[in-house]
Amino acid sequence: MKVGTPEKFIVKGKRLDGRAPDEIRPIKIEAGVLKRADGSARVEWGGNIAVAACYGPREVHPRHMAKPDKAVLRINYNMAPFSVSDRKRPGTDRRSMEISKVTSEALEPVVFTHLYPNTAIDVFVEILNAAAGTRCTGITAASVAIADAGIPMKDLVPACAAGKVGGEIVVDLCDIEDNFGEADLPMAIIPRTGDISLLQMDGNFTPSEFKKAFEMAKTGCEQVYKVQMDALRNKYGKME
């Protein structure tokens, strides 16, 4: 057992940070936070801070990565060196590569890439502070940044995790739950269709636990979706 594992994760129905099992952490989203990017967003979510910058559609470098029938959607997820407990050495590591890949695949289904053949849509996600759930925070931010860039989308993509801690299924794990819990299930959904565009899992779930966690993550995504929409309304609402 890992050093530092708490004896109990839930006491009197409350989690270590005081939340109910089905309660997500406070989340705040702002669109259009950067000048140079075509679109951008900043998400603060229970200690996580992510800034996403979107450029495109634009020329593809290197050229051979271009696709003749659609834009390539490229996500670059990066943790700032000071965003984690042990300083992270700058540069791409295996974890960032995987998260960049699954984030691209989570967003691809909603972006009308076919409108922009031979171009690139690049999204750069910077994690400025990490507190469990950075990939969901990053997807949530990237999604708003693409919308803010004016690129046509079928829907926004919110993301949220559920997991198992001390035998209980809870939503949106915090740092200590993530470190010492038994399972984690980050998900991204397309709210208008209910389809799943990101799903990863590690830990231990029985089939029925999985179903419960799945539903909880889905509900979490729906709550995040509202905050995403509000962020866009805050910026663009006055124009309507």
Binding site: K2, E98, T193, D195, I196, S197, L199, N204, F205, P207
Partner: protein, 262 residues
Amino acid sequence: MEHVVAEIRRDHIANIIRDGKRVDGRGFDDYRPITIETDIGHKADGSALVKMGDTQVMAGIKLLLGQPFSDMPNSGVLTTNAELRPGASPTFEAGPPKPPTVEIARVVDRGIRESGAIDVDKLCITEGELCWIVFVDMHVLDYSGNLFDAGMLSSMAALLDTRLPKVEDGKIIYGEKTNNKLPIANKPVETTFAKIGSGVVLDPNLDEERVMDARLTVATDKSGDMCAMQKGGEGTFTPDEIFETVERGAKKAKELQKLLKD
């Protein structure tokens, strides 16, 4: 032109699947023929070559001595790597692993780690000071689809084949193996499904993998619990597709586990 041909090929494969069939005649839940050969070469501490249809993945285990992580002073260390060797496909290049390769290594790693396949506490030799470091290296020799399942199977077969090297004065004596096995406590396997149009099929071959909309990998342990999952690809799954696939995966996992000998 290339993408037009790709679309025609996609439609063809999807149409066959819509009719309940597959390009190579298999059922939706059939694996291609699988063989597992172990003890390939004597330098690895354990090894296995898995053939899954035309796909060939060799896994080799090397055991090194090192220091436990400071937050787990009583545990050994597991490191999982994959390499798509440039000879395995006309499109692979020499160089550091690219995202799809990294994804395979990381998903296999999670399956092994989260299922407790290796009882890492038994790999500690001196608390906080000396432990075994287990290197699992997957070496993809021939790429014809579904590296996740072949990779996991070769890794587990190689771990089961492993004998600890002899140690004297805290150093490994190379060339002398003991009869001691690794403390294997679980047998996770991965089952990967491809969604192509209206159907979801197990163990996509190369043609299917090229045209699939989305992929779902489910790692199941010996008790039938899930220990890792990974959705891939640019498409989506409905919640029902996911629940059904997870169930189908758990069933096939039992078959794969039978192939893994203690």
